[in-house]
Amino acid sequence: SDTQTDEGSGGDSDEGTSDEGSSDDAIDVGIILPTRDEPRWVQDEQRFRDAIADSDYTTEILFSQGSSANELQNVETLISRGIDVLIMSPHDGDAAGAAAKAASMEGIKVISYDRLITNTDAVDYYVTFDSFAVGEAQGQYLIDNTDGSGIPLYLYAGASSDNNAFLFFEGAWSVLQPKIADGTFVVANSSAAEELSSKNELTRDELGQILNQVTTNWDPNEAINKAQTHLTSAGAELKGDVAVLAPNDGTARSIADTFSSDSEVTSYVITGQDAEKASIQYIIDGKQSMTVFKDVRRLVEDAMGMAITILDGSDPETTGSYDNGSVDVPALQSEVITVDQANVEAELIESGYYEASEFTGLE
């Protein structure tokens, strides 16, 4: 259609400007990360730089600071820098559609990194840890590391305004729900969850009801407030040996601190995610039970590798595909690793992900 021709010719003319303008510093791979407020993404920044260092391509990394508008603006910026591949981890999968579209309009290949850009056909590849699988891993860990029945289960989730929070929780619920139904676990802190305990596949709306009650907003302080009120209102029968589903390491630590300060809680199993340095220390010290380690290095290498393959003009290989609501996106999956005291050294230290010297209590 004529919009096509618009874009086309617009594109051409821009080649002109950017050639005479920024030929010397044109960028090959543009990278967009959701926020610099979480250490995980700050670390990614460096890893991406290292990953492309030994190729002769150049990269530029921008942060969206939790705003889809910044995200779009960043994409536009990178397009003006003349990138050919865009690696993007959306702040909000749906809202990122517009940004992805803008890029693919320019014939730029879009790689959705870690989080899937949904409901648009403007995504070419997806490099991921399966968010759903993360939730599953968390839920499974709780099941494997508790015994008996009638175990009190405390549920916590990320921000009710964050789609990923829904994915994590959905995954966890998919494995925990049967165990709740058969009485192995007793939900201690969410009336909504109790009502839905017989339903394995929840609608977005039903998930929303639960999250609305148990959201931490990804905020450790909010997590403490919630945990404290929950422990307060819970009777002795909901104490003792308990299981806690915490969405990520930041909230897991503060929830763990709160639970450990309750004399009636004799022991707790608590999940986490991201293998933050701070939480690894907690795991070593036995304050946090596990964290879902998503070896970001692998993910980074996969993503960058894929980008370089594309730049070299050949097609990258993929291991599966994801339906993003609009198209099936060919995907390259890295598996997630459950890390606890048993395998923390093997997975994180020996693999060189962290230095042993960064922690105390490791012999």
Binding site: D2, D6, E7, S9, G10, D12, S13, D14, G16, T17, S18, E20, G21, S22, D24, D25, R36, E60, I61, L62, F63, Q65, G66, S67, S68, A69, N70, L72, Q73, N74, E76, T77, I79, S80, R81, D92, G93, D94, A95, G97, A98, K101, A102, N119, S160, S161, D162, N163, F166, R204, D205, G208, Q209, N212
Partner: protein
């Protein structure tokens, strides 16, 4: 020789008004050099203007609110909330976009009048009243998006508001012809109005600036208009967002400068008591300004939702602060009675240019915050000092 004198005089007398423009030009040139041309490239300028659109309209309204010595912290989430409502009406109720847009704008006005009631009628300080509003609409936004999460908008007309461009008709050496035509028309209109203006003045024989200065001014401004449209024509031309922002600016510029209402706003701002004694209905003016503010918030919400082609659950977060910052960089004064609509727009563009330019240069986000804070402080200090010296 006295040509120079006159110029230097003009500049001295208007340093506060020109300061901002000079700053903007300085910023743009600096970035353009540092990015070796990318900053001023057709596409980047076009993106930059579009990116600042939803803040710019807020800044326009906020300027008037601050002129009458109030503030409105609720605009951010009002925009977010109404944006979500728009998405719901479009996608879930399946209403036509031509129905939805007026509905949303009217809702905005209603919300604004409620603020006006709290402030003008009950005499609640605007800061608190709107702080409460901020919390309430934040909750409301979460509430309406709870079931669905982000709401995708699949309505081409609606999405065009934030992403579409005026049709090109045809291309001429890769330049977007319609844009060039508009630019040409703009230049002609400008020159014509200036000439008429000068002619009237001399008819009433008031003193006018000397002929050479006048010509220089004509050429200079025309050149700028031409240059900008030329640049835009090099990419997709003029976006609908830009059209809307320009319309809002022109309408508000006209109202504030040419109409009785506009006069009353500034009168109330510069001395409420005197305004009342001069027969101006201060309450009504307050209602008007707060109403217009929330209407523009509604518009901002539409622009934002359309730009993202979806209503997100956190839309509107901190818009108010960006808008306030833009207004202050644009030279509004919380002492009341001082502040131009055009200033607000420039302010918004300045802030957007900073972000855009620093992104192009890959400046770390932490420095970006600090620099923006510094620029805001600098702008206000400059403003206060020049005003002091003026007195």
């Amino acid at each position: 020789m006295n040509l120079l004198k006159e110029t230097s005089h003009l500049i001295k007398d208007n340093i506060r008004d020109y300061g901002m423009y000079i700053a903007l030009v300085a910023i743009m040139i600096t970035f353009n050099v540092m990015t070796s041309g990318t900053f001023m490239s057709s596409r980047n300028i076009s993106n930059l203007l579009d990116a600042s659109g939803y803040i710019a309209v807020l800044a326009v309204g906020m300027t008037l609110v601050i002129v009458i010595r109030h503030i409105d912290l609720s605009v951010g989430y009002v925009a977010g909330f109404l944006g979500a409502i728009a998405a719901i009406l479009l996608m879930q109720q399946g209403l036509s976009v031509w129905l939805v847009i007026p509905i949303i704008l009217v809702l905005g006005i209603v919300i604004g009048l409620m603020n006006g009631f709290l402030i003008a009628q009950l005499g609640i300080p605007a800061f608190v009243a709107s702080l409460a509003g901020m919390l309430i609409f934040r909750g409301a936004l979460l509430q309406v998006t709870e079931g669905t999460g982000t709401i995708i908008v699949q309505d081409d007309i609606f999405n065009a508001i934030g992403n579409g461009y005026l049709p090109a008709i045809k291309y001429f050496y890769n330049r977007h012809v319609l844009t060039l035509i508009i630019g040409a028309v703009g230049v002609v209109l400008y020159i014509f109005s200036e000439l008429k203006n000068r002619h009237d003045k001399s008819k009433y024989n008031f003193d006018v600036i000397s002929m050479p200065i006048f010509l220089i001014k004509l050429v200079f401004v025309s050149a700028i208009i031409a240059y900008i449209t030329w640049i835009l024509a090099g990419y997709n031309g003029i976006s609908w967002t830009l059209v809307i922002v320009l319309l809002v600016t022109m309408v508000y510029h006209f109202i504030t400068n040419k109409t009785v209402l506009g006069r009353q706003v500034y009168a109330v701002g510069s001395n409420p008591e005197a305004a009342h004694l001069s027969g101006i209905n201060v309450k009504n003016v307050t209602y008007m300004v707060m109403g217009s503010m929330s209407m523009l918030a509604a518009l901002s919400g539409i622009l934002y939702t359309s730009r993202l082609q979806s209503a997100t659950t956190t839309a509107g977060m901190l818009f108010e602060l960006d808008a306030i910052a833009a207004a202050y960089v644009g030279g509004v004064s919380s002492a009341g009675g001082v502040g131009k609509v055009t200033g607000a727009i420039i302010g918004a563009i300045v802030m957007a240019s900073l972000t855009n330019g620093m992104n192009l240069l890959g400046v770390g986000i932490s420095y970006q915050y600090m620099i923006r804070g510094g620029v805001l402080a600098g702008a206000v200090i400059f403003d206060v000092i020049t005003r002091k010296r003026g007195k």
